[in-house]
């Protein structure tokens, strides 16, 4: 990881001092263990705050829409796919971007780490050789990296950036994974069971919209839940309204979601929000052989029509 950090600083410094970009978007050291803060550097003297580690889980594609300047941005596999998606959706121009590709060793989940030490207070972490050493007052514990990966990272099949102008390392091998075991379980339920399952899943939701705001796809100027003329969804914590919000948001992300995990990472009450988006991801894969954000040049399946699109549901 230190090599990545070193290299990001070098590239950032070069790009800024040569005037190739106006700003660099990357991460700086967090103020608490297991965190890193996205930051923007515009002065070559400021590049030394940039770091890269296993807690850089925030999707930096989130910071690109509506920017007018030339930007160098650090991109993991999923970030780069969301950037490709942004380019396809005209949220940013490819020629504004210098993408600093980071073949991703997959990010760790701070809440899993905390749970692995029974919620004890963690004051520092160190990472080496696939292991994470966690220390706090009166304890030290070594965790296997694989056991504390973010859920989406554990099943990630695209760790390498799909777009890049600079690379921090050679591409890493991609894993073969069955991504949809949990989704198949839900699919096997009867409609009634499924409804009950979703109600239970969302029972703790506080409608803070952190999932939506963390999502790089949710850049609509006015979200449907914020519309007042007409008001589509009630604003209290009524369970029907809450379900409606999550389902509709997931549908808006169909064929666009890269399973970057931003929603789940942001959820303050630990809801497995990806269950919704992953179902649609699975459908897009099976019906259209489509994975989102693999190229900025191919139109996504939901904004194109082909005569051979699957149509069995039409009676």
């Amino acid at each position: 990881m230190t090599e990545y950090t070193q290299k990001i600083r070098e590239i950032a410094k070069k790009l800024l001092s040569e005037g190739k970009v106006d700003v660099v978007i990357g991460f700086r050291e967090g103020t608490v263990p297991l965190m890193a803060e996205p930051c923007l550097v515009s002065d070559p003297a400021g590049v030394d705050q940039l770091v890269f580690n296993s807690f850089c889980g925030v999707n930096l594609a989130n910071y690109l829409p509506r920017r007018k300047d030339r930007i160098a941005v650090v991109a993991k596999g999923c970030d780069s796919r969301n950037m490709a998606q942004h380019i396809a959706e005209n949220q940013i121009n490819r020629d504004q971007l210098v993408i600093i590709g980071a073949p991703c060793t997959r990010m760790m989940d701070r809440r899993k780490v905390a749970a692995a030490v029974d919620g004890k207070d963690i004051t520092s972490v160190a990472e080496a050789d696939g292991r994470l050493t966690v220390t706090g007052p009166g304890f030290e514990k070594v965790l296997d990296r694989e056991s504390v990966l973010q859920d989406n990272c554990a099943i990630c099949v695209h760790v390498n950036p799909v777009l890049s102008d600079e690379m921090l390392a050679d591409p890493l091998p991609e894993q073969e994974k069955d991504r949809y075991t949990d989704i198949r379980e839900v699919e096997a339920m009867t409609p009634g069971e499924r409804y009950a399952h979703f109600e239970e899943l969302l029972s703790g939701c506080i409608r803070c919209y952190a999932c939506r705001n963390a999502c790089p796809l949710c850049y609509c100027p006015t979200c449907f839940v914020d519309e007042s003329k007409p008001q589509w969804v009630g604003k209290s914590i009524d369970p029907t309204d809450t379900l409606t919000f999550h389902f509709l948001r997931a549908f808006h992300c169909a064929g666009r979601c890269t399973d970057c995990g931003a929603c789940e990472r942001a959820c303050p009450v630990g809801i497995n929000v990806r269950q919704f988006t992953k179902k649609l991801e699975k459908d897009c894969k099976e019906l259209f052989d489509w994975e989102a954000g693999m190229s900025p040049d191919v139109r996504p399946p939901l904004d194109t029509f082909r005569p051979d699109d699957p149509g069995k549901f039409i009676k």
Binding site: P191, G192, H197, P239, F247, K315
Partner: protein, 49 residues
């Protein structure tokens, strides 16, 4: 989502196919009536407690 499949119908009907529209609409109504009142995604009064 947990919606009964019988409550959701897709059909392709051209503006010229009035009879088909009537047939489909009648069939849908019959099927939905047979299922009885929906109890999912139904909001009576906000449950906030």
């Amino acid at each position: 989502m947990g919606i009964d499949p019988g409550r959701l119908h897709f059909s392709w009907i051209s503006s010229a196919e009035a009879t088909k529209f009537v047939d489909v609409a009648t069939k849908v109504i019959e099927e939905v009536k047979a299922l009885g009142p929906a109890d999912r995604f139904v909001k009576e009064k906000a449950q906030v407690a």
